[in-house]
């Protein structure tokens, strides 16, 4: 028998038992650690989902507010047309008074007979005095009131662009801004309140922004109402309130203002007040389609009035006032004139700003229409590529356990054997040194447009910033071409992950790898 076989074997089972117990202990601890990791991963995903959805909600809130403002913009244009038509209408009266007064003062009563001297000429003197008085009355009040009305037009034309820009900037700063107290950070802070273990880092991007980053323009396009505004404005009140209105007493007042003179033809005061009845060549008429040339706007009133005082041989007055009055505002490619015309006056650019009747500056050239924010229409047609302009928000969240490297959980067993063999259940790094102390989660949400009703069949209605039907939902990142194999540029998911540093880049490589293999199971 060999010597070693004769050695006592006492304690052998104890060693085996100890090793077995150690193995079982490690299995138990690993089970516990894995359970916690699964739960924590679910938590990261929950926070990412909540942040993405909340970002889409905030985006929808802003877009719905923008939509209400665009409706306000249309209503403003309706009011603007009313204002302009009243200025024109008043100018018409002033013009008629001027014309009649010119004619009346230009005629003298010939005292060629006793009848003329005793009857007609005194009458004529009264008419001349009344005419002068009326002309002086209107002229005396005209400037101040006309300027005030013109200023009001100017104010109304400023529109809603500033408010929409404020909304856009609020969205960018609060939801998509870097650092500081952003929406995603608030969600993370609330969800992880009191947690000493992990450091959370969010990254967010959105197709609210053109290109691949927030540095560029947004998907909201600054545009002008122009044709669209003409249509919507016209449809939001019609034109009869400026074109077929009662004369409001203008005609009867003209008659009364000139005493014994017979004034006829004032029963019909026609207004043409609407947007653009002159085309670019200056020809009058309802040109291109329905007569709306969106590059100009005017209010035009005309009356065919005639004043007669036929007392031959003393006085023979038979003259008409036919020149229309108008307030005409156009884009400056047609004319730089600021026209407020009626007989006896013609406003022009040489006049002070307060006398101008052009509705504001040409802030949306060419055209008198004011600017507003709309979806970027270059994006809306290709639904697959850009989902009809409906913006996505992508949130990636990193949970870094580096903070608990030294103070791990009780079950995070760690020991070293012989100085180089180690067991580490802390989830910090693998035996070959790879850091595994980070969990990543990403979520995608969409602000989408859907008008309710009709059993849900109103998806055909195109997304637009004219109605507050913007909702929010979580979607797959592959809902459009962003998360599909694309060699030309990385999608937003990858770009968002990239913002999370080295670990994010590892996540991005996983995404790229899945895409290259044709993976389609994105959630």
């Amino acid at each position: 028998m060999r010597a070693w076989m004769r050695r006592p074997q006492r304690g052998q089972a104890l060693v085996l038992m100890a090793l077995t117990m150690l193995l079982v202990t490690m299995m138990v601890l690993v089970t516990l650690g894995m359970s916690m990791r699964v739960k924590e991963k679910m938590e990261v995903q929950q926070v990412a989902d909540a942040a993405a959805y909340s970002s889409a909600v905030a985006t929808s809130r802003v877009m719905n507010s923008m939509a209400l403002l665009n409706r306000v913009h249309i209503s403003n244009m309706v009011a603007l047309s009313a204002n302009q038509s009243l200025i024109s209408w008043s100018g018409l009266y002033f013009g008629v008074v001027n014309q009649f007064n010119d004619a009346i003062q230009g005629k003298s009563c010939r005292r060629v007979s006793r009848y003329c001297r005793r009857v007609v000429c005194p009458q004529w003197s009264q008419i001349q005095a009344a005419s002068r008085a009326e002309q002086a009355r209107v002229a005396g009040l005209w400037d101040g009131l006309d300027q005030a009305a013109a200023l009001q037009s100017n104010t109304w034309q400023k529109g809603v662009m500033e408010e929409q820009e404020e909304l856009k900037n609020a969205l960018i700063g609060y939801v998509f801004g870097e650092g500081g107290r952003t929406l995603t950070r608030e969600i993370i802070d609330a969800a992880t309140e009191g947690d000493p273990h992990a450091e959370w880092t969010p990254a967010i991007s959105s197709s609210v922004f053109k290109g691949d980053d927030r540095g560029g323009e947004t998907a909201f396009r600054r545009t002008t109402s122009r044709e669209a505004g003409t249509e919507a404005t016209h449809g939001s009140r019609g034109d009869t309130f400026v074109t077929s209105r009662a004369d409001g007493g203008l005609g009867s007042h003209i008659k009364g203002a000139f005493g014994a003179a017979t004034v006829s033809g004032t029963d019909s005061v026609d207004g043409e007040g609407w947007y653009g009845d002159e085309d670019a060549s200056g020809a009058t008429g309802y040109g291109t389609e329905y007569g709306f040339n969106p590059r100009s706007a005017n209010a035009r009133d005309q009356v065919s009035a005639r004043i007669t005082f036929m007392r031959p041989p003393c006085v023979e007055l038979n003259t008409s006032a036919s020149a229309p009055a108008w307030v005409f505002s156009d884009d400056r490619t047609i004319s730089t004139n600021d026209e407020h015309q009626f007989h006896g006056s013609m406003g022009a650019d040489s006049e002070s700003a307060t006398r101008r009747h052009t509705m504001g500056d040409c802030n949306s050239c060419p055209g008198i229409w004011v600017s507003f924010l709309d979806l970027d229409l270059d994006k809306v047609v290709n639904g697959d590529e850009h989902l009809f302009g409906q913006p996505k928000a992508i949130v990636a969240v990193k949970r870094d356990y580096s903070r608990r490297d030294e103070n791990g959980d009780p079950w995070a067993l760690r020991f070293t054997v012989d100085g180089n063999k180690s067991f580490d259940n802390r989830g910090v790094e693998t035996t070959d040194g790879a850091r595994i102390n980070v969990q990543l989660a990403a979520a995608t949400a969409l602000s989408y447009y859907h008008r309710p009703g009709d059993d849900g069949r109103r998806w055909v209605e195109p997304p637009t910033l004219f109605n507050p039907f913007w909702r929010a939902t979580l979607v797959s990142p592959a809902i459009d071409s962003d998360a599909r194999p694309n060699t030309s540029r990385p999608g937003r998911l990858q770009l968002t992950l990239d913002r999370l540093g080295a670990e994010g880049t590892q996540g991005r490589e996983v995404v790229d790898g899945l895409l290259s293999q044709g993976f389609k199971g994105w959630q």
Binding site: M17, T20, V24, T25, V28, T31, L32, S35, K39, M42, Q46, V57, R61, V72, S75, A82, S85, L86, S90, Y93, F94, Q152, T155, W156, E166, L167, N169, A170, E186, I187, A190, A191, T192, G194, A228, E231, G235, S236, D239, S244, R245, G248, L250, E289, Y290, V381, G383, F388, R451, P452, G453, G456, R457, W459, V460, E461, P462, P463, N467, F469
Partner: protein, 330 residues
Amino acid sequence: MGTIPRPVPSRRGQATVELAIGLMLFVLLLVGGIHFGEMGMLAVKATEASSAALWDATGRLPHAYGRDGLAAYHDTVASRAQDRIGPQYEDFDGREDERGRSPSLVFTRASGLEVTCEVAGADVFTPMDLGTVDGIYFSANAQRGVRCTTTAEASILPGRTPQEFHTNTGWLTGPILKDTAVQFCGVGRAWGGSCNQGTPILIGEWALMNPISDEAGRCDVYDGEDCQNPGYYAAVKAYYDSPAGVPKGEDGSALAEAVSRRSSPSDEDAFYMSFHGSEDGYQQRLDGTWVGRRTFTVTPGGPDFLGMDQYHEMANTRSDCWLGLPCRRP
């Protein structure tokens, strides 16, 4: 003289003792392993329940467009989400049809899982400063959200912790373990003995969204505020009457009235709006016009919306399926 042989210690029973000690350790580890596995499964359910409550909240009607502003229902949303998901997950089983008692597993017994949802106000979500339109129609309450969390406890022995189990007499005195009950939270752990208030989420997009109310209706210009969508009308008018709609006035009327010494022929800053959707070709039909044409596109999507004709193209190409994307047919 012979020596008396020393008695050889008997080895009988040694293996039994070793086995007993070994088994105690082994069983302890086995029980612990099973217990921890069960705890892990239950903990995951706590997180799952809090997520379920959050997403239930997002599916509820958060507000309604009223004549006097947006009526926000965050309180109702939170309580209903809690009322539905709470009982559903009380037994740690998310299946709605399966209702039972709190689970008693092999070595783990759990208390009933409680779901708590509450309104997340300005202490969680800093209200977004919307500039000039801030607070118009949409009050500060409408900026709120909801947060949900779950709490549950599980212990190793059914119903009794070890200090209750032993008799505290003889050599075995004092508690073996102070407390074996472990608290689960929806997110994170019970730092300091209690769970945090859960993950918050913004609720309410301020959209017209109720399909069975007048929020789905059109707003004909002739009907004014009595249109089929009075909430929409009221919201736009609220903005129109605010500084956001630029200050209104009657300066044109003042001029006209002073000149003519009669009342103004039109209400200068009266509010008008028209909204029509696909059922009307996106157009308002007018009773009569000076220009002759009777129908005008008032919502992008209709014809003659020149300069924005992409909308018309979209209306013709979108499907009536989700997001307007092509319907997937089997």
